[in-house]
C-alpha cells in the first residue's frame, strides 16, 4: 500500500494524474481485494427483495444528514434514495451511514446495495463500480479566511491546503495545481498516511473529518480548504469566502452500485427517468 502510494506521487510527476488520484485518496484497493470483495458481493444475495440498503452520508446538511435525536436522515440524497427504491419496487429503504474511508468497502462487500453519498463519478471509481447518470453537479472549490487576504490562487504560493482524507479533493487539487503551473507536482516529503505532504510550492494537510478541516482553517493551520461546493456550504460564514477564479474540478454525483450487478442497469435507468421527468430537479429545488 505504502509502495503504491509513493509510486503514485512519483508517477504524478512523471506521467499524469489518474493513478495518483486513486493513490492520494488513500484507499485504492489492490486487484486481489477488488476481486474478492466483488465476488463476495455477488455471492451474497443483494438483499431480501423488499428492502433496499443504501449507504448515505450523515454529516452533509442538505444531502445526507442524520438527526441523532430521531435517528432519521434528511436531505436530497435521502429523497432520491427513497424515490429510487420506490420506483424499483422496494417496500423499504434501509440507510447506513457511510464515511469516505469505508464506503467503498461497504459496497464492495455487499453490506449495502447502493451508495447515494455525495459520491462523485470518477474514472478510478468506474473501475470498481457502476454509476448511474449524475444527479447533481458540483465543483471542488477552495475556501479561505478573509483575514488571510488571499485574492487569487497565486497568493497561496507556499501556503498550506487542507482536504479531508478519503475524499478525492486532494488528488484533484494536485492535478489542478500542476496543470495551471502553480506547482511542478513533485512531492518533497510525505507524512504518515499521506496526511502531511510537502510539495514544492504548497503543503497539503489532510484531516479525518470536515469539521476538523474547518477548525484547522479557523485557527490558521491551513490557509485554504479544498472540498466539494455542496459540503462547503455547511462550513461557510461571513469571515470566509470561496477563492475567486479557482475551481479545482467539476464533479458529478451519481448512485454507485456494484460493478456488473443486476441492480446497476435498473438504477441507471431509474435515475435517468427521474432526471427526465423533473423529479430530481424538484428534489434539488426543495432542498436548495
Amino acid at each position: 500500500m505504502q509502495d503504491i502510494t509513493r509510486r503514485g506521487f512519483l508517477g504524478l510527476a512523471l506521467s499524469g494524474a489518474a493513478v495518483a488520484a486513486g493513490a492520494l485518496a488513500g484507499c485504492t484497493p489492490n486487484a486481489a481485494q477488488t476481486g474478492s470483495a466483488g465476488s463476495a458481493g455477488k455471492a451474497a444475495p443483494a438483499s431480501s427483495s423488499d428492502t433496499l440498503r443504501v449507504g448515505v452520508r450523515a454529516d452533509i446538511v442538505g444531502f445526507g444528514y442524520l438527526n441523532e435525536r430521531t435517528g432519521k436522515y434528511y436531505g436530497l440524497e435521502i429523497d432520491i434514495a427513497e424515490e429510487l427504491a420506490n420506483r424499483l419496487g422496494y417496500k423499504n429503504v434501509e440507510y447506513m451511514t457511510v464515511l469516505p474511508e469505508n464506503r467503498k468497502e461497504l459496497l464492495l462487500e455487499g453490506k449495502i446495495d447502493a451508495l447515494v453519498a455525495c459520491y462523485s463519478i470518477a474514472e478510478t471509481r468506474l473501475e470498481n463500480f457502476d454509476f448511474s447518470p449524475a444527479y447533481y453537479d458540483d465543483s471542488v472549490i477552495a475556501v479561505v479566511q478573509n483575514s488571510a487576504q488571499v485574492n487569487s490562487i497565486d497568493d497561496l504560493k507556499g501556503a498550506t491546503f487542507g482536504t479531508m482524507s478519503g475524499a478525492n479533493a486532494a488528488p484533484l487539487l494536485s492535478i489542478k495545481l500542476y496543470e495551471i503551473g502553480f506547482s511542478n507536482g513533485e512531492s518533497r516529503s510525505l507524512g504518515a498516511d499521506n496526511n502531511d505532504v510537502l510539495f514544492d510550492t504548497w503543503h497539503l494537510l489532510q484531516y479525518p473529518s470536515y469539521q476538523e478541516l474547518s477548525d484547522a482553517l479557523e485557527i490558521g493551520e491551513v490557509d485554504a480548504m479544498v472540498l466539494d461546493g455542496a459540503i462547503a456550504k455547511t462550513y461557510m460564514n461571513d469571515e470566509r469566502s470561496v477563492l475567486d477564479g479557482f475551481t479545482v474540478d467539476e464533479v458529478s454525483y451519481g448512485v454507485a452500485t456494484q460493478k456488473g450487478s443486476e441492480l446497476s442497469g435498473r438504477v441507471a435507468e431509474t435515475i435517468q427517468g427521474m432526471l427526465d421527468d423533473g423529479t430530481i430537479g424538484a428534489i434539488i429545488d426543495k432542498w436548495d
Binding site: 430521531t70 483575514s147 488571510a148 487576504q149 490557509d223 455547511t234
Partner: protein, 1032 residues
C-alpha cells in the same frame, strides 16, 4: 295512547331537518369565522413579513456599529502603545512592560510581534501563530500606519475565542492586542441578534416569529428556548412548506400553527399564530350562536310536535284548518309557531351580532393592550439602558484619560500642541488639554488657549479643581456645550512626576456622537415611531408631566394638549381599553403607563368589526331558511289526511291545569296551588305551550349552568390570555359597553345557579323537617332569592359604571324621601314587586281580595286590575292587596243544600238520589265529577237538610249551583218529595210507608258508598285545611 305512524314519520323528518340545519349552521359559522380569523392573521403576517427585512437590516447595522465601536476601543489601545513606543514614553519590548500595559489598558494580552510573526515580548502566552497567513490582516498596519482591522479566531473545541488588533511601531515590529470579545458578543446578543429582533415581534395574542436555517433546518430562534437548536423537520415542519411565500397550517412540536414563511438570506422566518389561539376565541362565539340557533329551532319544532300530538290525542276541530289548495294550514299551530319563529329569528340575529362584536372587540382589546404593555416595557428598558450607557461611556473615556496621563507622566515633554494632536489621534478622541498644578492650561491640540479653571462653582470647569485637591479623576456627565450646544463630555486625570508629586492633570474633551445617537434612540418618539399594529394601528404617548402629546405620528398633533385633542381624564390611566377620539377620529385604544408617559396603542375597528354585519346576515339567512322549512313541515299538511279524533275534547282531565281568560283568549294555566307547591306534572298532562315553556326553561337552565361552570372553572378551562378570561378579568372599562353587559350576564348566571341550588337543597331539607323547619326553610329560601336579586342588581350596576357608593347613599336618600311622604307610592311599588316575585297570583287567576272576587287582568307596578265577572274592573292599589284568596284551584265544588220533610223516608230519598244523580251529571256538562250526596247536614227546625255537591271548575261554580238547585227541585217534584216551607198544615195522620228490608239494606250500602266516594273531598269551607296539602 300511541302515536300514529304518520306523526312518527313527521317527527322523524323534523328531527332530521333540525339536525341538518344545525350541521349546516355549524359548518357555515366555523368556516366563516375561521376564514375571517385566518384572513385577519394572514394580513398581519403579511405585514410582519414585509417589515422583517428592514428590522433585520437595522439589527445588522446595529451589530456592525457595535463591532466597529468595540474594535475602535482596542485599536486605540494598540495605537496608544505605538505612540508610547514612538515617543520615548518609557516603552521597552519586554514581558514586564507588556504586563504593565496589560493592566493599564485593561486588555487580555499585549504582545510585540515582528512583521514575520515572531513574538518579541508578551504579557501572557498566546495560542496564536502570527506567522500564519490567517493573520495577514494584522500586517496591514505596516502599510497603512493605522491600527489594523480585527482578526477573530473562534474555535469552540479549544475554548479559543479572541480578537486580535495590531498597530505598527516601526517597519519591523507591531503591537498586537489579544482580547476576548465576550462583552461584544453580549451586546450583539441583546441588540443585533436574531433573538433580539424576533423576540420583539408579536402576532395577534400569542403569535411569534421563529427562524429556521435554510441550510440545515435547525431552529435558530424560537421563543421557547428548548426548541432552539432542534431540527425543524424533526419538530414537525415539512420541507415543502419551507419556501418563501408559503402561507399554510403547520405543526411545530405538536402545536398546530398558522404560518407564513419568508426567506431572507439563508434563513426562513416563520410568522406563526397558534391555531388554538384562533380556534379558542372563535369556538366560544360559534358555540353560543349555535346554541341560540338550536334553542330557537328546537322550540319551534317541539311546539309543532307537541301540538300535533295533542291534536292526535284529543282530536281537533275542523275549523282549525284552512285549506290552501292541495295542502292545508293548521291554524292552531301556525299562529304561535310563527310568533316563536319570528322572535327566535330576531334573537338569533341579536345574539349573533352581539357575539361577533364581543369577539372582535375583545380580541382587539387584548392585542392592543398587550402591545401597549410591551411598548411601555421597552420604553422603561431603554431608559434604563440609557443610564447604563452613560456610565459605560464615562468609564471607557476615563480609561483613555488614564492612558494619556500615563504617557505624560512617562514623558512630560510630550505636552506640546503637536504631540497632543498625535496622541489624540492614537486615543481616538477630539481634544486633549494639559493643566499644571495651578489649574492653568499648559498645552492642548484644540484652538482654545489661555484657559484657566474657573473659580465659580457654577461654571463647568470648576469641578476639575477637585483634581488639584487630591481627587484622582473627574468624569463629568455629558452635557451640551455652552458655546456650540453640542453634547460634549470632559474627563480629567491627574499627572505626577517621577517622585509621585502632583504636577497637574490631563483633560480629555470628547464629542460622544455614538452616545448621543444611542440616547436619541431611546427617546419616546424614536421608540413609538416604528410601532405598527395590524394594518392601521399606531402608537402615541401622552406626557405625564404636562399632559401634552409627547409623540403622535402626525407632526401637527405632537406637542398639543391631550385634552384639546379629545383625550379625556379617565382615559389617562394604566389598563384603559376602549374607544377614544383623537382629533375627531375614532379609534379603539389601549393604554399602558410608564414612569413618564401614558402610551396609547390605537387602531381602527379592524376587519373583525367590519365583518360582523355580513356574518350576522349570513347567520340570519341560514336560520331563516331552516325556520321556514321547519315551520312548513309542522304547520302544513296534505288536505287528505285527517287525524281520527280519538275522543271528545273533554275526555281527559288535566290535573293542575285550568283554563283562564286573558284578554278574551282562553289560555290554560297552572293552578295556583300547583305553582306554589312545585308539584310536578305528568308530561302528558301538559299543554303544548307548557311543554315548550318547560323545554325552553331547560335550555335556559342548561345555558345558565354552563356559563356558571365556565366562570367558576375559568382558570382550568380557559387559557389565561383567552377572550373569556379577558371578559371575566374585569380589566375593561366599566360602563355601558359590551364587556360590562357580558360580565353582568355571566355574573347573573352564576348567582342564579347558586340561588337555585340553595333553594333546591332547602326544599329537599324541608321534606324531612317538621312544620317549623319547613317554615324556616321557606324563609331562608325567600331570603336567598331576594338577596341574590339585590346583589345581582347592585353588582351589575357597578359593572355598568354606576357609582355604587352613590347608589348606596341614594338608597339612604330614598328612605328619607319615603318617610317624608312618597311612601304610599313606594309601598305600592314594592308590594307590586313582591306580588310578582312571590307569585301570589298571576294574570288570569281568580282571586278574592277583601270580599271582592274577580279575574286578575293586569298586575301593574302600582295597581292591580281585577275583573269581577260582571265586566266591572276593580283597580286595587298593590299595597292594599292583602289577605288574598287565590281561587284558581284545580276544582271547585258547587254545593246545594235541600231540606226534606221530617216525615219523608230518608232511605227512599237516598235511593232516588242514587238513581238520579248520574242523570244530573249527564244533563249538566259543567260537572266534572259527581254530583255526590254528602249526607244529612242538619236536622233543622223544619226540615232534614241534605247536601249535594258537584265538582266543577271555579268559573262554573256559580251557574252550576243554580243548576243543581233547579235539578233538585225538579227531582223532588218528580218523586213527590216535599221540600218544607212555612205553611199551615191541617194534620191528618198519614200512614208513612215503611222501608222494606231490601230498601234498608240498599240505603245502608248507598250511604257507605257515598261516604267512601267523598272521603277525599272537602267541603268548600275546608278548602285550605291540612288534608289538602297532604299530597305534597
Amino acid at each position: 295512547m300511541r302515536m300514529s305512524k304518520g306523526l312518527t314519520a313527521k317527527i322523524a323528518v323534523l328531527v332530521a331537518v333540525v339536525l341538518a340545519s344545525m350541521i349546516a349552521m355549524g359548518v357555515l359559522l366555523t368556516g366563516m369565522q375561521g376564514q375571517l380569523t385566518r384572513s385577519s392573521y394572514a394580513e398581519e403576517i403579511e405585514y410582519e413579513e414585509a417589515s422583517l427585512p428592514e428590522l433585520l437590516e437595522q439589527a445588522d447595522a446595529e451589530t456592525a456599529e457595535n463591532t466597529a465601536q468595540f474594535d475602535a476601543i482596542y485599536q486605540s489601545k494598540a495605537a496608544s502603545v505605538s505612540f508610547m513606543a514612538q515617543n520615548d514614553a518609557g516603552f521597552e519590548a519586554t514581558d514586564a512592560k507588556m504586563v504593565e500595559y496589560q493592566e493599564l489598558l485593561a486588555v487580555d494580552n499585549i504582545m510585540i510581534v515582528t512583521r514575520e510573526g515572531e513574538i518579541v515580548a508578551r504579557a501572557t502566552d498566546t495560542r496564536a501563530d502570527f506567522t500564519r497567513m490567517r493573520f495577514n490582516r494584522l500586517r496591514d498596519t505596516f502599510d497603512t500606519h493605522e491600527p489594523s482591522e480585527a482578526v477573530e479566531i473562534e474555535y469552540p473545541e479549544e475554548e479559543w475565542l479572541d480578537r486580535y488588533y495590531a498597530s505598527r511601531i516601526d517597519d519591523e515590529t507591531m503591537v498586537v492586542i489579544e482580547q476576548d470579545p465576550a462583552e461584544l458578543r453580549t451586546l450583539v446578543e441583546s441588540t443585533g441578534s436574531l433573538a433580539s429582533v424576533l423576540g420583539g415581534i408579536s402576532l395577534g395574542q400569542d403569535g411569534y416569529v421563529f427562524a429556521v436555517s435554510a441550510k440545515d433546518y435547525v431552529i435558530e430562534y424560537h421563543p421557547d428556548e428548548d426548541l432552539i437548536g432542534a431540527d425543524a423537520i424533526d419538530a414537525g415542519l415539512s420541507v415543502e412548506n419551507l419556501e418563501d411565500g408559503t402561507l399554510a397550517n403547520m405543526t411545530l412540536a405538536g402545536e398546530p400553527l398558522f404560518c407564513g414563511v419568508t426567506k431572507i438570506g439563508d434563513m426562513y422566518y416563520i410568522s406563526a399564530v397558534p391555531e388554538a389561539d384562533m380556534a379558542a376565541s372563535s369556538a366560544i362565539t360559534v358555540g353560543v350562536i349555535l346554541f341560540a340557533f338550536f334553542v330557537v329551532i328546537a322550540a319551534v319544532t317541539l311546539y309543532g310536535i307537541f301540538v300535533l300530538r295533542d291534536d292526535e290525542r284529543h282530536g281537533h276541530s275542523e275549523e282549525d284548518y284552512r285549506r290552501l289548495g292541495p295542502v292545508r294550514l293548521n291554524r292552531s299551530i301556525a299562529g304561535r309557531a310563527l310568533v316563536l319563529a319570528i322572535v327566535g329569528f330576531l334573537g338569533i340575529l341579536v345574539i349573533s351580532f352581539y357575539m361577533q362584536t364581543l369577539f372582535a372587540l375583545s380580541s382587539q382589546s387584548l392585542t392592543l393592550s398587550e402591545r401597549a404593555e410591551s411598548i411601555a416595557k421597552s420604553i422603561e428598558r431603554s431608559q434604563a439602558s440609557a443610564a447604563e450607557l452613560e456610565d459605560q461611556y464615562g468609564e471607557r473615556y476615563l480609561s483613555k484619560a488614564e492612558v494619556a496621563a500615563y504617557i505624560i507622566d512617562q514623558n512630560p515633554e510630550l505636552a506640546t500642541r503637536e504631540k497632543l494632536g498625535e496622541m489624540a489621534d492614537a486615543l481616538q478622541i477630539q481634544y486633549i488639554f494639559t493643566f499644571n498644578d495651578q489649574g492653568v492650561m499648559t498645552a492642548t491640540n484644540s484652538s482654545f488657549t489661555n484657559f484657566v479653571l474657573s473659580e465659580d462653582p457654577e461654571d463647568q470647569s470648576y469641578e476639575f479643581r477637585k483634581l488639584l485637591q487630591g481627587v484622582d479623576y473627574v468624569v463629568q456627565d455629558a452635557m451640551p456645550d455652552e458655546v456650540s450646544g453640542e453634547l460634549r463630555q470632559y474627563i480629567g486625570v491627574t499627572t505626577h512626576d517621577a517622585s509621585g508629586q502632583l504636577t497637574g492633570f490631563v483633560q480629555l474633551g470628547i464629542r460622544p456622537t455614538r452616545l448621543e445617537s444611542l440616547l436619541e434612540s431611546v427617546q419616546i418618539d424614536h421608540v413609538l415611531d416604528g410601532v405598527q399594529v395590524g394594518a392601521d394601528g399606531f402608537a402615541f404617548a401622552v406626557s405625564k408631566a404636562d399632559g401634552t402629546i409627547a409623540y403622535y405620528p402626525d407632526q401637527n398633533t405632537t406637542g398639543k394638549d391631550a385634552a384639546a385633542c379629545g383625550i379625556t381624564e379617565n382615559q389617562l390611566r394604566d389598563g384603559f381599553s376602549d374607544y377614544i377620539t383623537v382629533n375627531g377620529e375614532r379609534y379603539y385604544a389601549s393604554v399602558s403607563e410608564t414612569s413618564d408617559y401614558y402610551v396609547f396603542v390605537a387602531a381602527g375597528e379592524g376587519a373583525l368589526m367590519a365583518e360582523r354585519g355580513p356574518l350576522t346576515i349570513a347567520t340570519g339567512a341560514i336560520a331563516l331558511v331552516c325556520l321556514i322549512v321547519v315551520f312548513a313541515l309542522i304547520a302544513i299538511e296534505p288536505s287528505s289526511r285527517i287525524y281520527a279524533a280519538a275522543g271528545s275534547l273533554e275526555d281527559e282531565d288535566r290535573k293542575g291545569v285550568v283554563e283562564v281568560n286573558i284578554g278574551g283568549r282562553k289560555v290554560r294555566t297552572e293552578t295556583a296551588v300547583s305553582r306554589w307547591l312545585g308539584r310536578s306534572f305528568h308530561w302528558d298532562e301538559l299543554s303544548p305551550e307548557q311543554k315548550v315553556g318547560c323545554v325552553l326553561r331547560w335550555f335556559a337552565g342548561v345555558a345558565v349552568i354552563v356559563v356558571c361552570i365556565a366562570v367558576i372553572f375559568k382558570d382550568s378551562i380557559f387559557d389565561k390570555r383567552s377572550l373569556f378570561s379577558y371578559i371575566l378579568g374585569g380589566t375593561w372599562e366599566h360602563g355601558l359597553n359590551i364587556f360590562a353587559i357580558t360580565a353582568s350576564l355571566m355574573f347573573a348566571c352564576v348567582l342564579a345557579t347558586a340561588a337555585a341550588v340553595i333553594q333546591k337543597i332547602l326544599r329537599l331539607v324541608s321534606r324531612v323537617l317538621d312544620a317549623r323547619g319547613v317554615t324556616m326553610c321557606r324563609l331562608i329560601s325567600s331570603v336567598v332569592k331576594y338577596a341574590s336579586v339585590i346583589g345581582m342588581l347592585y353588582w351589575c350596576l357597578a359593572l355598568l359604571g354606576v357609582d355604587t357608593a352613590t347608589l348606596l347613599a341614594s338608597a339612604g336618600l330614598l328612605t328619607f324621601a319615603v318617610s317624608l311622604g312618597a311612601q304610599g307610592i313606594v309601598s305600592d311599588i314594592i308590594a307590586g314587586l313582591f306580588i310578582i316575585f312571590e307569585g301570589e297570583f298571576r294574570v288570569g287567576d281568580i282571586i278574592q281580595v277583601g270580599g271582592q272576587r274577580g279575574t286578575v287582568m293586569e298586575i301593574g307596578v302600582r295597581t292591580t286590575k281585577i275583573n269581577d265577572g260582571s265586566g266591572n274592573i276593580l283597580v286595587l292599589r298593590n299595597s292594599n292587596i292583602s289577605n288574598v284568596v287565590n281561587m284558581t284551584k284545580e276544582h271547585s265544588y258547587a254545593a246545594v243544600e235541600v231540606g226534606i220533610e221530617y216525615g219523608e223516608s230518608l232511605e227512599r230519598v237516598e235511593n232516588i238520589l242514587a238513581e238520579e244523580l248520574p242523570n244530573i251529571k249527564k244533563r249538566l256538562p259543567a260537572i266534572i265529577d259527581g254530583p255526590f250526596y254528602k249526607g244529612v247536614t242538619m236536622l233543622a227546625d223544619n226540615s232534614v237538610n241534605i247536601k249535594i255537591v258537584a265538582e266543577c271548575a271555579e268559573k262554573d261554580r256559580a251557574p252550576l249551583t243554580n243548576d243543581l238547585n233547579r235539578e233538585m227541585k225538579l227531582l223532588f217534584d218528580k218523586h213527590d218529595i216535599s221540600i218544607p216551607f212555612p205553611q199551615v198544615v191541617v194534620n191528618q195522620p198519614v200512614q208513612f210507608k215503611k222501608a222494606t228490608a231490601a230498601e234498608k239494606a240498599a240505603a245502608d250500602r248507598f250511604n257507605a258508598e257515598q261516604k267512601e266516594a267523598v272521603k277525599n273531598m272537602v267541603d268548600e269551607d275546608e278548602d285550605f285545611d291540612e288534608s289538602n296539602d297532604s299530597r305534597r
